[in-house]
């Protein structure tokens, strides 16, 4: 399983160890996020450093292709993903079935394309849940400071490294197998990581000039936090959200693989792989196709996230 709360490549931003160690203690890069939030935002125009590179562009194109094919799946010249042709079980690639058929004669390519839908649904649910909890959490902690900040961050620390997949299994066992329940859980348990990043970007803005001016003009604290501070502190949270989306895609597949997500007849990358892998030597395409789809999906999203990091955050 990959890493929910870590923000992948951006090592210094991802987490400080426990509450006890001040972030600045991690000298090589550890304290870099606070100045970056100020310096990067204060100037004219975009504060970012590099351009959106080649690899992120490839990722963006792949991601758009996946998204388009999942939206336009009914219009594509492919078979119905549910239609079984029992005379054509475990068939190899042919013109009619480009990637062959699975163990009950369903078109492998068609199921991989339709599988995008449940994957993106799961990712969407997870991201919404994470934002709904994480953004208010981080904003409140960073903007209020003091005891509230301390309490909110302690709770975040406590949840930060809880394995999301295991908790999702726990919730599914209580509420019944449902990919929505599972992904809401995964989103919620990933929220502390987002909150932590947002908080450290908000914290240095509390005393910023534009906040003091807004306050002296009598703008309410809530409005200052949401309209003025949040847009200026969003960069690391955006990068983290995209990184989390890539992780959610894999978790959705993992849960379906374990039979705890999307129920069997519906096309789903994880569930399709689970039913095909025992017959791997007989019909490798049926196992390879959904796995490759997950890999391309997760990689494209995280490549976009890396590109956004280069653009939005000064390193």
């Amino acid at each position: 399983m990959p890493f929910p709360n870590s923000g992948r490549g951006n090592a210094p931003l991802a987490s400080a160890p426990g509450g006890a160690v001040p972030q600045t203690a991690l000298a090589p890069g550890g304290g870099a996020d606070a100045p970056a939030a100020l310096a990067g935002r204060g100037g004219r125009g975009r504060g970012g450093g590099q351009r959106f590179g080649l690899v992120p562009r490839i990722g963006l194109v792949l991601f758009c292709l996946l998204l388009l094919s999942s939206l336009l799946a009914p219009l594509l010249p492919i078979d119905n993903p549910l239609q079984q042709t029992l005379s054509l079980r475990n068939a190899g690639p042919s013109l009619r079935h480009l990637l062959g058929t699975d163990m009950v004669g369903r078109d492998v390519l068609s199921r991989a394309i339709y599988g995008c839908r449940s994957a993106f649904e799961g990712v969407g649910v997870g991201v919404l849940a994470m934002l709904a909890l994480g953004v208010p959490w981080g904003l409140a902690a960073g903007f209020s400071g003091g005891a509230a900040d301390e309490a909110l961050m302690r709770i975040a620390d406590a949840l930060l490294s809880f394995p999301p997949l295991v908790l999702a299994i726990g919730v599914v066992s209580a509420l019944g197998a449902s990919i929505t329940h599972a992904m809401v859980t995964v989103g919620f348990i990933s929220a502390p990581g987002l909150a932590r990043l947002l908080r450290s970007a908000v914290l240095p803005l509390r005393g910023a000039g534009f906040v003091l001016i807004a306050r002296s003009l009598g703008v309410s604290r809530l409005r200052i936090a949401v309209r003025h501070v949040l847009p200026n502190a969003m960069a690391p949270a955006v990068v983290q959200t995209v990184a989390a989306a890539s992780f959610f895609l894999i978790v959705e597949a993992a849960l379906s693989f374990l039979g705890l997500g999307v129920p069997p007849p519906a096309p789903s990358w994880g569930a399709d792989m689970a039913s095909a892998y025992l017959n791997f030597t007989g019909d490798p395409a049926a196992t390879v196709a959904p796995g490759l789809a997950i890999t391309i999906g997760a990689w494209s999203i995280s490549a976009v996230g890396d590109g956004l990091r280069d653009v939005l955050m000064r390193t």
Partner: protein
């Protein structure tokens, strides 16, 4: 040093408490609550008197905080309840499951630290050159590959087709060490791909930061051999930020073991939790979730204490 450990210990108590509250709260998520979960097929066929008797037996009439306290003291005494499925104490059910999972996690942690560390150093040293880019691209890909897919294919290719390793099953270490290693090789390697890539990324970025710092420039100017500069000067400073990511790696490995154990049919906590979900054996699921939460918290603690031992800057920051 003792003071630092105590101070850090004090901060991990709330962490563990929050996980216990989380796990305790899970049972109230169930549509029918704990009673229905215990009765299985729904409460319809039972008379209100019977349900009340079960409620009384389970102590469900007490206020929720009191119930939590009773449950928590029970857990601290090693009483995790009875399995609904096997009618045995939960501790008896999960105790034999711990060792295979821990073996998997430790094995994968060692492999991914060594391989990930090496690749990360390589990526930082060869940064901007084809080899460095290849490593960055490879680790990026390694982070996106679902480990259960690799595991499934490895079981098929190396296990079934080539017959190099057993495709499924597990030999306990008490039975045969060689057999144990044989059955664990593929699962450990497959688990290490994602974690190794993750650590490689973090080692690379910490190494890059260290290699850009003035003391490294001085070291080059002094004419130290590259090997000394990379391994003795830069790596030592780069290691501190990386150690903080090891607990995250462990948390991710725990998720990965659930899948890999199910593919290779290893009788660990991962296979137990999945079969308990399908058996609706809620106490076992709850116990495993709790165990995992506490395990990760303890590893966090160890990593932070290790960090303080390792890096005097952090030691000073904590004791201030």
């Amino acid at each position: 040093m003792g003071a630092i450990i105590l101070r850090r210990l004090a901060t991990s108590v709330p962490t563990i408490l929050v996980s216990t509250i989380l796990v305790f709260a899970l049972r109230y998520l169930m549509p029918g609550g704990p009673v229905e979960a215990m009765l299985g097929g729904g409460t319809g066929q039972y008379t209100p008197a019977q349900i009340a008797a079960i409620k009384a037996r389970l102590g469900l009439n007490a206020p929720v905080p009191v119930q939590y306290w009773r449950w928590l003291t029970g857990v601290l005494h090693g009483n995790l309840g009875m399995s609904y499925y096997s009618q045995q104490p939960v501790t008896t059910v999960i105790a034999p499951r711990v060792i295979p999972s821990v073996e998997l996690i430790i094995g994968a942690l060692v492999v991914s630290t060594v391989a990930g560390g090496g690749l990360g150093i390589l990526a930082a040293v060869k940064r901007g050159r084809p080899l460095g880019r290849a490593v960055q691209l490879g680790t990026g890909l390694g982070l996106s590959v679902p480990d259960f897919w690799l595991a499934a294919m490895a079981a098929g290719v190396f296990g079934l087709t080539l017959g190099l390793f057993p495709a499924v099953g597990f030999t306990p270490i008490s039975q045969s060490l060689g057999g144990n290693i044989d059955t664990l090789t593929l699962p450990v390697l497959m688990l290490s791909v994602v974690t190794g890539s993750f650590l490689a990324r973090h080692v690379a970025s910490a190494m890059t930061a260290a290699l850009d710092s003035p003391y490294i420039r001085t070291a080059w100017a002094m004419g130290l051999p590259p090997r000394t500069i990379y391994l003795n000067c830069a790596l030592r400073n780069a290691a501190a930020p990386v150690i903080t990511f090891i607990p995250l790696a462990v948390a991710a490995l725990v998720g990965g073991t659930v899948l890999v154990e199910n593919i290779f049919a290893i009788p660990g906590l991962g296979t137990e939790i999945v079969s308990s979900v399908s058996n609706e054996d809620y106490p076992v699921v709850q116990a495993i979730v709790l165990l995992v939460g506490v395990l990760v918290a303890v590893l966090n603690l160890l990593a932070d204490v290790g960090l303080a031992l390792f890096d005097p800057r952090i030691r000073n920051a904590i004791s201030e």
